[in-house]
Structure formats: structure tokens, C-alpha cells
């Protein structure tokens, strides 16, 4: 589902042809996401200012930070000393600026050191694994159980005081953290097949570590480093405050704070400048780090709820007119066979369904361009097409689940006398639970891992049907037995992860059936399953559809699945339905060149050795859909007439040359 959405959202509509431009379009997404976070941007700007101040301290400071002036000691802010003076009459502002220099230098030094050591160790133990990994992790466990401050004391006791020893003390503490983080990332990355491929290619281990794995784990590590810089400032200040930090001539904020504490009875203002400086510096690093993390992982951008998708709902007047015109068989595109069949036995009639996503420069990109079909009672209707054809988006639109920022811009979906697309969220929710059920590709993801499968099946029955817990439980066991879950009475106490893929999909079907829906929308329900299990699930759907007089909309990429399970089929290409018909007819005598090509390219259990017929190219992304017939650039039969205008869906097929081709074929 999101594949289509991603494609519609991410790259620019003008579709860069050159590699260089394509590469540039890929990079900025992190920066774009960062730009949307004013707080993180402000923090980054603040940090830059802090670094500049630290570097330019000798130029900016009005006084020598260590020059005593006993006549003006312990003063509050004055015109001469903006932030007052300390117990020796030294200028607080100058000391604050020099303190920034110390804080930056020490923390950058510490974190840089920790990065080098920690990341190397993490890479090594993560990649080697086994005993190396276990020993290293137990060692870090032991080291981490010692409070970091005490640990730093020990290091300083060994190496002495000063900027570099302090940095080393802090670095040792942080290196352990970096080791852990890097190791975790490497363990995940090692599972990626490109690492296996590099091993099979006999690349040397250092090369695999530093050239292959390291660049892929560096992003999160750098983010962590930004946050650690803040922690380093705090730790250095603490050491300074305790008098264990730097030498006497080096100014540091912690030491300033310690002095202020001694004289707080005489001059309470003294504690304010260093205290605020430490607080702000740490906050800046944290905000910047959080912002970077969100920007790199894309969380700030994608974590938007899906509700926004249903904002539309009063369709564009013109689009609505188009939609109704279609359903009524009026002007414009002629009514489709499907919409025409919207007679008494239709359970669901979809007309003129359009979905748009905003493109890169604000121009909307249409990814469903007027989808029309009807689904009869008790019928299994296949919706087949390659990825990017819009088949999953059709299902999501019917369920009111178009991911934001996409929206339904036109169309109607009549289901039992009401328009699904015009219902409110709450009303639609009720329909989804009771009369419309869904099954998705990944059954385990459909269950909450926290509750038993039984509980998740029983609860909808209690809420939607008002059944008692006992009656509901009994019904659930019946249903699970019906869908072929052995020992159902015991298995309802199991958690989803204890179910195999096939069993979980059965449980999902049982859940979908539990409220006896009239309509089941199944999006690639068997794609993740083994062939034998797939056949079982398809056979089961076939039996149940007959038994419950349930209509099924079966979305799949596999014409074999269509042949096994469906009565009728819709073939989709690039956001449009291009062919519709009874399965026997469509698979025996396809009329649209795309259907023929797809069918020819599907491998059969027949003597191999020869070449399979192929379809050149691939489904273009939505912003590159051509005018005229959208399949024409890949079609072997394309003529000039195919390249322009709107190709109408007529008589079950959307092809300008269908009659010519059929006549030619019959000759």
C-alpha cells in the first residue's frame, strides 16, 4: 500500500532523467525533514553560535579571565562588568566566554575519542559475534554498573588533572555507550544480504567492516554523539564543580559554579551565569540531537495519523459531476459494463473513484484515475495488477484508509444503500467492524502481540454483536475449527507469535468472518504463505464465500491466484481498470494487450528451456503516466491513435485498437 504512496510523495514530478539530479533529489529528504522542525533548527543555530563564541573568546572577552581586581570583587552587574565579578574581582562575562571554550573543547575531544574507540569496538564485536560478542558485552555490563562519575574519578586518579585527562575520563565512559549502540546497529546490519554478498565476493573483513557496514550505521551514531556532547558538558562541569576537573588557570563552568556556591551568601547572582550557561548548552545539544534523529529516521515526517486522509469528503463539484455522470451512463466517459451492471444484485458499486497525493512542487499527482466496478452478492472479484498499479490503494480508499497526505477527490462507493466515501470516521468504523471485513498480507501484523488470539477474536463479538463472553468464546472456537485451526479450544489461549504464518492467516480469516460480513476485502492474503498453505486458504475462502453468501474483493499480483479463486476479474494498470470480465474468458481470451502480456509472462508448469515472453519496461510512477493509453509505451500494438486523448473504458476493455486486434486475431 505505502509503496504507491511513497512513490507519489517522495520524488519530484518532473522526474529527473539524469542520474545526478536523481541523486540530489534523494539526499534532501533528511534536510527537508529537518527544516520542518523549528526547535531543532534553532538549537543547531545556537550550537553554532556557542562554538563561534568559544573559538573567539580571546577576541570577544572584554577582560583577561584570570586578571584579579580586588577593588571590584563580588559585584553584581554593572556598566563596566556586565555580569559582575567574582571573589577575586575577575570579570564573570569574560570567564563565561572562556568557559564556553573549555566546555566545547573538552566535550568535543571526549566525544571524538569515545566515537573512535567505541565505534571500532562495536563494529568488531558486532561483526565477529559469538564469544567475542558475549565477552565484550559482559565487560561493558560490568563497566556500566559503575556510576560514570566514580569511574571518571578513577581515571583522573591514574592520568592526573587537566583538559586532556578530563576528556579521556569522559571518553572512557562514553566509549562503552558507543560500543553498545554500534554493536546493536551492526547486528541488525549483518543480517542484510549485502553483507553476505560481500563475504561471498571474498572482500576482506576490514573492507566489509569499514566500507560496507560502517556508512550504514553512522547516521544513528552521529545523532547519539550530538546528545552525548551535551552529557559530556554536564560531566565536565560536575568534575569541575567537585574540584577534580581542570587545572587552576583553565576557566570552566563547573568550577565557576563551585566558587559561586562558596560566596552565595555575599553575592547570590554569581551562580546564575554559569548555571544558565550549563543548562542551555546541554539543552541545545539535546534538542539538536533529537531533531537530527527524527530527521534521519523520518519519524517527524511520517508519524502523522491517517485521519487527515478523510478531510475531503465534499468532492470537487466538477469531479463529482464526472463521477455521477459515469454512474448514470451520461456524457464524458461512457458508462462501464461494471457500473452498468449496478443492478439489484450488486452489493458494492464503485464509480469514478479518484485518489490524489500532493506532488513535490504542490501539484497533485493522481494515483487512481476514475475506478469503476461493481461486486455482486456472493461473488469473488479479483483485482489484479503489478505493483504501482493502484490496486491496494483502491481497497484503502474504500475503507477510508488512504494514507495522509493522500485524499479521495471524487467518486462514490455505494454499499447497501449508502456511500462509503461520504460516511464519517465513526460510521465507517462501525461498518468496517461488522459488515465489511479485511484481511491483509501479513497476518501476524494484524494482531496485537500483547493479547491472546482468543481475546482478540472474542472482543469484537462482544462489542459488535452484544454476545456474552461465554457465547462469544464458544463461537470463536467454532470459527477457528471451521477455518481449520486444529485444537482450537486450546489455541485461543496462545499469543499471535505462537501461530505459524498459515495458522495466523486462518485466525485472521476467522476474525474477519466472526461478524458475518457481507463484504470481505482481502489484499494479497496469501502472498506471504507457502504454496500448499496458499491453496488451503484460497480453497477455504471459496468454500466460505459460498457458505456465507459473502462477496470477496481479492487483490493479488498473481494471475494464478485469480484463476484458482475468482469468478470475475478486474485488471488494473497505472491507476485505471483496463479490462474486466469473467475469469474463464479473460484468462483464455484476454482482450487488452496488457492482460495478454501479463498472462504470457506468467510462468506455467510447462517444459522450459525456451524464452518467456516479456513486457518491456515497467509500470511508470504516477507522475510519469503518459497521455492516451497509459500502457502504450510498453505495448507492442501501439499506434498513433493510442498516444493521445482519453481512451474510454468500453465493453469491458480500455483499448483503442481492441476491435482491430480482435479481427486480426480471428482471421
Amino acid at each position: 500500500m505505502s509503496a504507491a504512496a511513497d512513490r507519489a510523495v517522495a520524488p519530484p514530478p518532473e522526474a529527473p532523467a539524469s542520474a545526478a539530479r536523481a541523486r540530489r533529489s534523494r539526499r534532501p529528504s533528511t534536510w527537508r525533514r529537518l527544516r520542518r522542525q523549528p526547535l531543532a533548527l534553532a538549537a543547531l543555530a545556537g550550537l553554532a553560535a556557542l562554538i563561534v563564541v568559544g573559538l573567539l573568546a580571546p577576541v570577544l572577552a572584554p577582560f583577561d579571565p584570570n586578571a584579579p581586581d580586588v577593588l571590584h570583587r563580588l559585584q553584581g552587574p554593572t556598566a563596566r562588568h556586565w555580569l559582575g565579578t567574582d571573589e577575586l574581582g575577575r570579570d564573570t562575562l569574560s570567564r563565561l566566554l572562556y568557559g564556553a571554550r573549555t566546555a566545547m573543547l573538552t566535550s568535543f575531544e571526549a566525544v571524538a575519542l569515545a566515537l573512535v574507540v567505541g565505534v571500532s569496538c562495536g563494529l568488531l564485536v558486532g561483526y565477529l559475534g559469538g564469544w567475542w560478542d558475549r565477552l565484550a558485552m559482559r565487560a561493558t555490563d560490568i563497566l556500566q554498573s559503575i556510576p560514570s562519575l566514580i569511574f571518571a574519578f578513577a581515571v583522573i586518579a591514574v592520568v592526573g588533572r587537566g583538559t586532556t585527562p578530563t576528556a579521556i575520563a569522559v571518553a572512557v565512559v562514553f566509549a562503552i555507550v558507543f560500543t553498545r549502540i554500534t554493536r546493536g546497529l551492526v547486528l541488525r546490519e549483518r543480517e542484510q544480504q549485502y553483507v553476505d554478498a560481500a563475504r561471498v565476493a571474498a572482500l576482506r573483513t576490514p573492507r566489509i567492516l569499514f566500507r560496507e557496514i560502517l556508512p550504514n550505521v553512522l547516521g544513528p551514531v552521529i545523532v547519539e554523539a550530538a546528545i552525548m556532547l551535551g552529557a559530556a558538558i554536564l560531566l565536565v562541569a560536575m568534575l569541575g564543580f567537585l574540584g577534580l576537573g581542570l587545572g587552576a588557570t583553565t576557566v570552566d563552568w563547573g568550577h565557576m559554579l563551585d566558587d559561586a556556591r562558596t560566596y552565595q551568601g555575599v553575592q547570590p547572582f554569581l551562580a546564575l551565569p554559569p548555571g544558565l550557561a550549563i543548562t542551555f548548552a546541554v539543552l541545545l545539544f539535546n534538542f539538536a540531537g533529537d531533531g537530527l534523529r527524527d530527521a534521519i529516521s523520518g519519524r517527524a515526517h511520517e508519524a502523522r495519523p491517517r485521519r487527515g486522509a478523510r478531510r475531503r469528503l465534499r468532492p470537487h463539484p466538477r469531479a463529482a459531476a464526472r463521477g455521477t455522470g459515469l454512474a448514470a451512463g451520461g456524457r464524458g466517459e461512457p458508462a462501464t459494463a461494471a457500473a452498468g451492471a449496478a443492478a439489484d444484485d450488486a452489493l458494492l458499486t464503485v464509480a469514478g473513484l479518484r485518489v490524489e497525493f500532493p506532488g513535490e512542487d504542490g501539484d497533485p499527482v493522481e494515483i487512481l484515475s476514475g475506478v469503476d466496478f461493481s461486486l455482486r452478492r456472493g461473488e469473488t472479484l479479483g483485482l489484479v495488477g503489478e505493483s504501482g498499479s493502484g490496486k491496494s490503494m483502491t481497497a484503502l480508499a474504500l475503507l477510508g484508509l488512504v494514507p495522509a497526505p493522500g485524499r479521495v477527490t471524487a467518486g462514490a462507493a455505494r454499499f447497501g444503500g449508502e456511500d462509503l466515501l461520504a460516511l464519517s470516521e465513526a460510521e465507517l468504523n462501525r461498518r468496517r467492524g461488522a459488515r465489511i471485513a479485511t484481511i491483509f498480507q501479513d497476518p501476524i501484523a494484524g494482531f496485537s502481540p500483547l493479547h491472546t488470539v482468543g481475546r482478540q477474536l472474542v472482543e469484537p463479538l462482544q462489542t459488535h454483536r452484544g454476545m456474552s463472553e461465554r457465547a462469544a468464546t464458544q463461537r470463536v472456537v467454532e470459527l477457528l475449527e471451521l477455518v481449520g485451526v486444529p485444537d482450537a479450544g486450546r489455541r485461543i489461549r496462545d499469543y499471535p507469535h505462537q501461530f505459524s504464518g498459515g495458522m495466523a492467516q486462518r485466525a485472521m480469516i476467522a476474525m474477519a468472518l466472526s461478524c458475518e460480513p457481507q463484504l470481505l476485502i482481502a489484499d494479497e492474503p496469501t502472498t506471504a504463505l507457502d504454496v500448499t498453505v496458499q491453496a488451503q486458504v484460497l480453497d477455504l475462502l471459496h468454500d466460505l464465500s459460498a457458505q456465507f453468501d459473502m462477496s470477496v474483493l481479492l487483490i493479488t499480483h498473481d494471475l494464478g491466484v485469480v484463476a484458482e479463486a475468482c469468478d470475475r476479474v478486474l485488471v488494473m494498470y497505472a491507476g485505471q481498470i483496463v479490462e474486466e470480465g469473467e475469469v474463464e474468458r479473460v484468462l483464455a481470451r484476454p482482450r487488452h494487450p496488457y492482460t495478454s502480456a501479463l498472462l504470457a509472462a506468467t510462468p506455467r508448469n510447462e517444459a522450459g528451456g525456451g524464452r518467456l515472453p516479456t513486457v518491456p519496461g515497467r509500470v511508470p510512477p504516477a507522475w510519469e503516466w503518459p497521455s492516451g493509453c497509459r500502457f502504450h509505451p510498453r505495448c507492442a500494438h501501439a499506434r498513433e491513435t493510442c498516444r493521445h486523448g482519453v481512451i474510454p473504458f468500453a465493453d469491458g476493455v480500455r483499448c483503442a485498437r481492441v476491435h482491430e486486434l480482435e479481427t486480426a486475431a480471428s482471421r
Binding site: A19, A20, A22, R23, R134, R138, Q192, Q193, Y194, D196, A197, A198, R199, V200, A201, A202, L203, R204, R207, R211, E212, P215, N216, E386, S387, P486, D530, V531, T532, V533, A535, Q536, D539, H542, H557, D558, L559, G560, V562, A563, E564, V583, E584, L587, A597, L598, L599, A601, T602, P603, R604, N605, E606, A607, G608, R611, L612, T614, V615, R618
Partner: protein, 292 residues
């Protein structure tokens, strides 16, 4: 042991292969529980031959491939390549063997490093296998791209800028880079759309004819296997169920499990579906009785 070796003096000879995973890690001493993913599998791939390895998920077919490639430790049995014993019980695998046996994985999204260009990915493999000879790397990279049907401008792309089919072509080019004699293709076309799948299958057929490669084609899809493999080994629960020529095995299987696999494979021909449904029901009945 039911997997009879198919020919003598094969390019790759796997005998009684055992791959076991320890369940549960940690520093616990004593006997760890063991899962035998592969339990005594034997198979041969002759030079230039196509052998399909089929079975359902968990059958151990991927583990066989990984064991041959030295990516998982072997608990028993032997692997010989070109008459030499290459059984890698530990980690080290010789460079010569790496040159001879290469792999194409299922998911081209994960099998290419997202942060390296196609050129960088291919060049480092080319360089590694022609030690000392720095010159000619570029020419070889372009030659590889040409072999898999990609253009010169694809060399500067990152995997994220390529389609699934193009990425899989890059993965094949990388596998060809050392000049191998055997390719392990682990579900190499399973993640692709039908139209792309047929393009890649044709490419594999062409490359084999052109370079005389042997294929160990691991797949769950019998119809796909039939396109590239003359013989098939069927696995279930770590063991070989049945092995033989594709023509025979995929039309008249002897074992009930293979029959079930065949009857379950969806065929884009709706005319016989009621018959197939009935056949599956008939095959399932005794299986259920056995289980009960």
C-alpha cells in the same frame, strides 16, 4: 537417505550435509537444544547444469545454499567442488572457491549496499579477484553491466534509484564479476513483478548458455524452477523427499508431498480448477489422518 546422486564427477557434490542451529544462546553450559535445518542432504550439480531446489519455507533449502557458500557452519557431511573437498567447517573459505561459486539473493533491496553506487559495488569485487591488476577495472565493470542488460549510465546510480528488476540485474552482475562456474540463486526472482520476473529469467537462461554456468536454483515456485532447471530436488523438513529430471518429477511425481506441491501451485488456467480443488481435498484427507 533418499537423495540419490544424479551423476558422477559433478562440478558440485554435496554429500549427507547437516546444518544445525543451536536454540538459545548465552553463556549456558551443557547441552544446548539443536535444530537440524538440513539433515543429510545429498545433491549434485554438473558443470553447466541447472538444478532446482524446491520446498516450502522451513524446508531447509536456503540453509543448503548458505552452507555451500560457507555462510553457515556445517555440522556434518561434505561438499566437493570440481573434485576438491571444500567443506568449510569454520569460517575461512578459499579465494579460489569464492571465485568459482557466487550467489544471487532474493531481495535486491537488501542485497545491495544502499550507500554505494553500482560502479563501486562492482569495482571492488572485480579488483578483489584480479589481484595486482588495477588497470581495466572500469572496462570490466562496463562489460558486466552490458552482460546483464544495463547501460553505462547505470554505473553512477545508487540502488535506491533503480527499479527492482534493475537492482537484481546489478546483483547478477556482481555475482558474475569473479568469473564463477556455479551460481547459487536463492529465490532470485521471487520478489519481482511478473513482467520483470520473466525478463530476469530470460537473462539467466541466456547467461547460462553464454557462459556455461551451473545453477543451483532455490525456489518455492515450481513453474519458475521448470524454466531454468533440468533436474529438481524436493526438500521437506531438512530432508530430500524426491529428486529427478524436471520433466518427470513435475509431471508424474511419485511422492505424495510432491504431488501436493504440484496440485497447490496456482496455475493461470481456470478451466481445470474444480478438478484441482477436488484433487487437493483428496490429497489432504490422508495427510490429516496421518497427523491425527
Amino acid at each position: 537417505m533418499s537423495g540419490e546422486p544424479m551423476s558422477a564427477g559433478a562440478l558440485l557434490e554435496v554429500r549427507d550435509l547437516v546444518v544445525a542451529y543451536r536454540l538459545g544462546g548465552g553463556l549456558r553450559l551443557g547441552r544446548a537444544r539443536e535444530l537440524r535445518a538440513v539433515d543429510g542432504v545429498s545433491l549434485d550439480v554438473a558443470a553447466g547444469a541447472g538444478v532446482g531446489l524446491v520446498g516450502e519455507s522451513g524446508a531447509g533449502k536456503t540453509a543448503v545454499g548458505r552452507a555451500i557458500l560457507g555462510l553457515v557452519p556445517i555440522a556434518g557431511g561434505s561438499i566437493a567442488f570440481d573434485g576438491r573437498d571444500v567443506t568449510a567447517y569454520g569460517r575461512r573459505v578459499s579465494l579460489a572457491f569464492r571465485r568459482d561459486v557466487q550467489v544471487v539473493f532474493q531481495d535486491p533491496r537488501s542485497s545491495l549496499n544502499p550507500r554505494r553506487t553500482v560502479r563501486a559495488t562492482l569495482a571492488q569485487v572485480v579488483d578483489r579477484h584480479r589481484a595486482g591488476k588495477r588497470r581495466g577495472t572500469d572496462a570490466r565493470v562496463l562489460e558486466l553491466l552490458d552482460m546483464v542488460g544495463l547501460a553505462e549510465h547505470h554505473a553512477e546510480r545508487y540502488p535506491g534509484e533503480l527499479s527492482g528488476g534493475q537492482r537484481q540485474r546489478v546483483a547478477i552482475a556482481r555475482a558474475l564479476a569473479p568469473g564463477p562456474r556455479l551460481l547459487v540463486l536463492d529465490e532470485a526472482v521471487s520478489a519481482l513483478d511478473v513482467s520483470t520476473q520473466s525478463q530476469i529469467l530470460n537473462l539467466l537462461v541466456d547467461l547460462r548458455a553464454q557462459l556455461g554456468l551451473g545453477y543451483l536454483f532455490i525456489s518455492h515456485d515450481l513453474a519458475v524452477v521448470r524454466q531454468v532447471a533440468e533436474s529438481v530436488v524436493v526438500m521437506r523438513r531438512g530432508r530430500v523427499v524426491e529428486a529427478g529430471p524436471s520433466e518427470l518429477l513435475l509431471t508424474r511425481p511419485r511422492q505424495a508431498y510432491t504431488q501436493m506441491l504440484l496440485a497447490s501451485a496456482p496455475s493461470p488456467d481456470p478451466s481445470g480448477r474444480d478438478e484441482r480443488r477436488a484433487r487437493r481435498a483428496a490429497l489432504r484427507a490422508p495427510a490429516a489422518e496421518q497427523a491425527a
